[in-house]
Amino acid sequence: MEYERKFKIGKPILEVNNISLSFGGVKAITDTSFNVLEHEVRAIIGPNGAGKSSMLNCINGIYKPQQGTVSFKGKQIPDITPNIMAQMGLSRTFQNLALFKRMSVLDNILVGRKLHTKTNFLEVALQLPKVKKEEKLNRDRSEEIISFLEIEDIKDTPVGKLPYGLQKKVELGRALATDSTIILLDEPMAGMNVEEKRDMCRFILKVNDELGTTMVLIEHDMGVVMDISDRVVVLDYGKVIGDGTPDEVRSNQKVIDAYLGVEH
């Protein structure tokens, strides 16, 4: 399946260097380094408790690692917070869904447009012409994303009332609305059936293909990961045990051991 990519894979855009994170005495991540190249689909896989979600939380600034650095777009970021990363063009979804439950689908996606909203509350209160203009732009973009994800018919439904699979889609939509250069997806296909998974894969590849957005995803399902990602990094007990193309990783003895178990 060789096809011409509109956005060629480029230089490293995100670099994780020697990250160590522990909670009290429990080591979640030990001295882990890997990078993500521009425009690629990068997967982080590993058994339960391997430190995958902790890794994303370190990149995004929710957790503060005890050691190590994160460089984004060639800059080492000294004090990472979710807000700074968002402003730099990094967006994410969450493992256990972190949607705004009482807000409609459209409103959720509109929150993703926050960084493209420059007007302050006084201007909003007075509904100045520039507020209306900006709001229209943001709404148009959100509607675009909604039709891209094929969720037009539920756009006014409060998100809390939607089934799980659709909520995952909305969360992807919210991340897309930020127009970020890189999106971290924390188990975007967890708890989905085969059909929903196929749909989600299609959207991830389509976003990567059409917008050139770099995608970093955590996934359990090995089959899915091998199909859609350019490169895979395998974590086990907080350490990198494999890193490379899906084929390389598949034939890596350590990875096979970690997934299938070893005889002692």
């Binding site: 929710i62 979710p82 402003q87 705004f100 439950k101 929150v111 926050k114 909003v124 709001e135 509607e143």
Partner: protein, 356 residues
């Protein structure tokens, strides 16, 4: 093609027109007794305004705060001092500045919300309630060294015209409330309101989308305190016509909290419904006591019954309709329109069958 975005739908404009006609034309023509203005309509508007303030911080931003009356006191006494000491500011100017002074207190007492949440935040915000009242009592300057404890509020003069009759004061309250309600609606429906609700529903995700928790929370507290401050100033100048810190005690804060919850968290019209209910319900109970039982029930018992019913209603609403009376009203409207539709269909069917 239908427009993608409009600030006000046709329905909103109709609602606004109906409210305006009712409040500007119908009420002044049909209600002539002073009692209605001085004891019901004016306090209703003032408290509804304060409840909108409470809605901003609690209903929209999800921060449990309990100090609305403290900010009202700040606004009321700021108003008194501004009219006294800076007469050039005029009534409207003073009103805005007193709101801003209350907002400054709001920012100060909203800061704990960055570190504590839920019931602990509620306790922390209680500080505003006690601190502001204590400060006004402690330093005589705020009361212009008045020894009696109760100061008479100055007369309201706007552009050289006195507004002293109940009807005139009602119009003052109405104008201020209308303007501020529209502004609140604009914020709540716009990007500002979305940021508030995002922080309410899932703060970590909001932060990951670039919504600053610090800015959003402090902003909500400031706006909330501004509304409470303006409401407090109107409450003192149009309703109480006097200024005493005791009028803004914790009981009033709780009253506003109840109005907010019963009216429906996260709604603007709920503020008006909740305020109306809590103000009118005791009046209704008294009327029942006097007219049905002919005074056989003691007034103190009636006021106790009132408390019992409020408490019961709070529990019932929390369990069955956490979105409050505004939601009930919405449901009722929906049912009515459905009925209307089905009756239309029936009429159509019967007319069709007649033809055939």
């Amino acid at each position: 093609m239908k427009p993608v975005f409009m600030t006000y739908t046709k329905k909103d404009l109709i609602n606004l027109a109906v409210c305006m006609v009712l409040s500007v034309l119908v009420i002044p023509t049909f209600i002539t007794t002073e009692y209605w203005y001085t004891s019901i309509l004016i306090p209703w508007l003032c408290l509804a305004l304060a409840t909108i303030g409470q809605q901003v911080v609690m209903g929209y931003t999800g921060q449990l705060a309990l100090g609305a009356a403290g900010f009202m006191a700040a606004g009321a006494f700021a108003m008194f001092n501004l009219i006294l000491r800076v007469p050039d500011l005029g009534f409207v100017g003073s009103l805005i500045v007193s709101g801003l002074i209350a907002a400054a207190f709001g920012i100060l007492f909203g800061l704990p919300s960055l570190k504590v949440r839920g019931i602990y935040l509620m306790v922390a915000t209680l500080a505003s309630q006690f601190f502001i009242i204590w400060m006004i009592d402690k330093f005589g300057w705020f009361k212009n060294y008045d020894s009696s404890g109760i100061i008479t509020a100055q007369d309201i003069v706007i552009l050289g015209k006195p507004f002293t009759t109940p009807l005139a004061m009602y119009f003052v309250c109405l104008a201020v409330t209308t303007v501020l309600t529209l502004l609140a609606m604009n914020m709540a429906r716009g990007s500002t309101g979305r940021n508030w609700m995002a922080v309410r529903d899932m703060d970590i995700a909001a932060e990951s989308m670039g919504v600053s928790l610090l800015k959003t929370k402090v902003q909500a507290f400031a706006i909330s305190a501004f509304y409470c401050g303006v409401a407090g100033a109107l409450f003192a100048f149009c309703y109480l016509k006097s200024l005493e810190p005791v009028a803004f005690d914790i009981k009033l804060s709780f009253k506003i909290l109840f109005m907010c919850i019963l009216g429906g968290l996260g709604t603007i019209n709920g503020a008006f419904i909740g305020a109306a209910f809590i103000l009118l319900f005791p009046v209704l109970l008294n009327a029942i006591g006097n007219n049905v039982f002919h005074g056989a029930i003691d007034a103190t018992i009636i006021s106790s019954i009132e408390q019992v019913i409020f408490g019961g209603l709070m529990i019932i609403f929390m369990i069955y309709e956490p979105l409050g009376m505004a939601k009930l009203w919405e449901n009722l409207k929906q049912k009515l329109s459905l009925k209307l539709q089905s009756s239309n269909v029936k009429n159509l069917k019967s007319s069709l069958s007649k033809k055939s």
